[in-house]
């Protein structure tokens, strides 16, 4: 610790070089922070405490196949099921088909299964009483400037009404406030409408539902309950497949892309480059200071302490840049989530990312400093002072 100021001084001996190297390290770790946020939000999607209690039941055949609504009563009787609700994909868009909105037609008790969505009692009451009512996420309402009481025209990209028109009208009855910060990007952009209104208006649904969501009373019983639900419809023409919310989300994400592979290949390329760059800087720094290091050794610094000082210097360089880079990623992540309009809800930089980033900083720092530190340790005082 007492040598810290010495190390600091040698680090900033050549300001331009150190600052240019630092900027490169900052860029590398900024990228690491952003990509790791993408990776964790894909890997941890659906892994909340609330999500663990929920099971999703869809058609075994495919995700676009519908299920009979009569299944609700039968699922509700499976032991261990606390509450069961259902929903349909509505495929809504506002004004322009490109302005797609996550919109579900849901059963009256849908909100009871999702404590992540908070709606005030008064607004909930209005929603329940309004046939054409809709609940909208806070972010969505902001995006299109909707207020409670507005009549909003929506298009469905899938379902026409009985006259063949795909234009629907809803009354905004309330705003959904997300209580789960991690998944807020999704709930924030959601629009919920009544399943009954949906089913009565479009001739294409005929009393069917897209998927069931079940809340179990005991998380440890989730697997047993899932099997019992699937057993209800075994060998019928509407067989189901029940997964925990986490497994269902993970399977879906995996179909989109192998994010882990993409992220690790990019990071591999980035850190390989970074090692070469920081290594070069450290080599230059030690080569320049040959004389000074020899003087240090002459006045009694041991070879090991010279080795340690060079190593610490390179680790310090990496840690400075790395911490700055990840810290820079922090404010950027919510901005990106916001700009993607709910398509991508990135988790903020968590303990995991910091730990992994810290390990990388230390590891690369030691690796990069090893060779120059070794040559500093082996330095022969006479040769170095004579500049041979």
């Amino acid at each position: 610790m007492k040598y810290l100021h010495l190390i600091w001084a040698s680090l900033f001996r050549r300001k331009t070089r150190t600052i240019l190297t630092l900027v490169s390290i900052v860029a590398a770790f900024l990228l690491f922070g952003l990509l790791d946020a993408v990776r964790t939000s894909f890997a941890e999607a659906g892994q909340s405490a609330n999500g663990a209690q929920r099971l999703q039941t869809g058609s075994r055949l495919s995700f676009i196949q519908l299920l009979p609504q009569s299944l609700q009563a039968r699922i509700a009787q499976v032991p261990g099921v606390k509450i069961v609700t259902y929903a349909n994909w509505f495929g809504g868009a506002y004004q322009d088909p490109h302005n797609q909105v996550f919109s579900f037609a849901v059963a009256p008790n849908y909100l009871d299964v999702y404590p992540e969505m908070a709606v005030s009692d008064a607004e909930r009451k209005t929603f329940d009483a309004t046939r054409t009512g809709a609940l909208v996420g806070e972010g969505l309402a902001q995006r299109f400037h909707w207020k409670v009481g507005d009549r909003i025209p929506m298009q469905s990209t899938i379902f026409p009404d009985r006259s063949g028109s795909k234009n629907w009208t809803f009354d905004v009855s309330g705003i959904i406030h997300s209580t789960d910060k991690k998944a807020s990007g999704f709930f924030d952009q959601l629009l919920l409408l009544h399943w009954t209104y949906f089913d009565e208006t479009t001739p294409y649904n005929r009393g069917q539902v897209g998927w069931y969501v079940t809340r179990v009373s005991d998380v440890n019983q989730a697997d047993r309950v899932a099997k019992a639900i699937d057993a209800l419809s075994a060998n019928s023409d509407h067989e189901t497949r029940t997964l925990t919310e986490q497994a269902a989300t993970a399977a879906w994400m995996k179909q989109l892309a192998d994010i882990g592979l993409i992220v690790s290949s990019i990071m591999g390329a980035v850190f390989f480059t970074l090692m070469l760059l920081a290594g070069n800087t450290m080599m230059q720094a030690v080569r320049e200071r040959t004389g000074e290091l020899a003087v240090l050794k002459t006045i009694g610094f041991t070879s090991t302490s010279v080795l340690a000082m060079v190593l610490v210097e390179s680790v310090l360089l990496l840690v400075l840049g790395g911490v700055l880079g990840i810290a820079l990623a922090e404010p950027l992540i919510p901005l990106i989530s916001h700009a993607s309009r709910g398509m991508l809800s990135l988790a903020p930089v968590g303990i995991g990312s910091w730990a992994l980033g810290g390990a990388l900083m230390l590891g690369i720092g030691v690796l990069v400093g090893a060779l120059p530190a070794w040559s500093a340790m082996r330095l022969n005082i006479v040769d170095a002072l004579a500049r041979r």
């Binding site: 990209t157 179909q255 980035v270």
Partner: protein, 438 residues
């Protein structure tokens, strides 16, 4: 003075970069030719060349530092080219699926086959519309099709892992409507039986798709009759008889879409007019080329934006690495450069020489990165849920000449910025100070 130079440099940089981004490859060729003429024909040019020669001949002695520029830029170009190749491969696979001489007819206001639906009357009326090519027997080349999804076990996945594949029920004319589809193994399915043919891309992704074997979709067993190839997005699908699919999935006599082959390759406008003139039809018609190109737009843009953002952040890192190396190189040669200037060399040849050296290294990095991306990723198989479809689309990354050129442009831009500031310092440093420096 110093501030004025810096401001001027930054202004110059912005102008140059904007021009560079807009420049097509022919323009770059002209620029390179002009530079070569200047270097060879004018006195200042020859001086710049000789100074650059000295710098380049000593690159070997600064191997580590020079490698920072080359490898740094190779990393940027490699990642950028790989991402752009992914976007390119995806867009190309979908674009190839369509052609200008076949058309797709959907329900009015539909923008994807899956969300469209046509009743029996409409299907019959569409097939009777003038403008559709006819076969030897006089039947119109129109294939009414049903699109559904099916879950299948993923190849190499966990025991319970399933992925979604698009199941297309096709009419008897489908083979004539889509001549690119050919059977590579086994035979076609028999109409009226619960039999399938599977695309090569689907075989690559899902387990159990072997001719002669039965697979289970929901509660029904289907026989795999053969494997087909088409070199486009259809390859990721599985096909069966439309009537059987509709019956199994309770679609009755309705169909999702009708795909037709046009009698005249330029006859789409007339065909569309004829459809719109029919008051009983409420439809949306487009050439299949338009349809599939439009489907690819969103995803392609997303992949491209991700590639450019990641590439840009990496480029910042590489740029500062290059600046670092070149500042060190200029500092090491400060005396030599000052001597040149003392004996009458102007600033310009010195600046050009240092820029040439940096951009040569950058070009090397760009070529290395592009070549690596080409070796590793050209033809690499990837898959994703395709927009407007209900199945996984399998496609190959395609490193095209345009993508490689884009990568080289980035490399040279990074090299230019990385060399400009050190070059300016070398040219503006007072000769007396530089000569005294060690």
């Amino acid at each position: 003075m110093k501030i004025r130079v810096s401001l001027l440099l930054i202004l110059l940089l912005v102008v140059v970069l904007v021009g560079w981004v807009l420049l097509p490859w022919q323009g770059a060729l002209v620029l390179a030719a002009l530079l070569a003429v200047w270097l060879a024909a004018t006195r200042a040019g020859r001086r710049a060349l000789s100074v650059a020669g000295v710098g380049i001949s000593t690159l070997g002695q600064r191997l580590g530092a020079s490698a920072v520029i080359v490898v740094g830029i190779a990393g940027v170009v490699g990642v950028l080219v790989a991402m752009l190749a992914m976007a390119e491969g995806y867009a190309e696979t979908l674009r190839r699926t369509g052609s200008a001489d076949s058309a797709l007819v959907l329900r009015g206001a539909s923008d994807a086959e899956v969300t469209s639906g046509l009743d029996r009357d409409s299907v019959v009326q569409i097939a009777q519309t003038p403008g559709i090519a006819r076969d030897a027997k006089g039947e119109p080349l129109a294939s009414p099709e049903v699109i559904v999804a099916a879950n299948l076990p993923i190849k190499g996945g966990l025991a319970d892992e399933e992925g979604s594949v698009q199941l297309r029920g096709v009419g008897p004319q489908a083979w004539a409507v889509r001549p690119q589809v050919r059977i590579v193994e086994g035979r076609r399915f028999t109409p009226g039986l619960r039999e399938l043919i599977v695309g090569r891309g689907a075989v690559r992704q899902f387990a159990g798709l072997v001719p002669g074997h039965e697979i289970r979709l929901g509660s029904q067993m289907w026989m795999v009759a053969g494997v087909f190839a088409s070199g486009d997005a259809l390859e990721s699908e599985i096909w069966a008889d439309a009537d059987i699919v509709a019956q199994t999935y309770e679609r009755g006599s309705s169909r999702n879409s009708v795909t037709v082959r046009l009698a005249d390759p330029n006859g789409f406008a007339a065909f569309k007019r004829a459809l719109e003139a029919n008051p009983q039809l409420k439809i949306e018609a487009m050439t299949t080329l338009d349809y599939f190109s439009k489907q690819s737009e969103g995803t392609t843009a997303v992949i491209r934006v991700i590639g450019i953002v990641v590439g840009a952040i990496m480029a910042v890192g590489a740029m500062f690495g290059a600046l670092n190396t070149m500042f060190a190189a200029v500092a090491a040669r400060a005396r030599e450069i000052a001597t040149l200037r003392a004996i009458g060399f102007a600033g310009l040849p010195v600046v050009v020489a240092i820029l040439l050296e940096t951009m040569l290294l950058a070009l090397l990095g760009g070529i290395l990165g592009g070549a690596l991306a080409w070796l590793l990723f050209n033809g690499y198989a990837a898959s994703t849920m395709a927009a407007g479809s209900v199945g996984k689309l399998s496609f190959e990354l395609h490193v095209t000449a345009a993508v490689l050129w884009q990568g080289l442009k980035w490399a040279l831009a990074i090299g230019f910025i990385g060399g400009l500031f050190p070059a300016a310092r070398a040219a503006t440093m007072p000769v007396t100070t530089a000569l005294r420096e060690l």
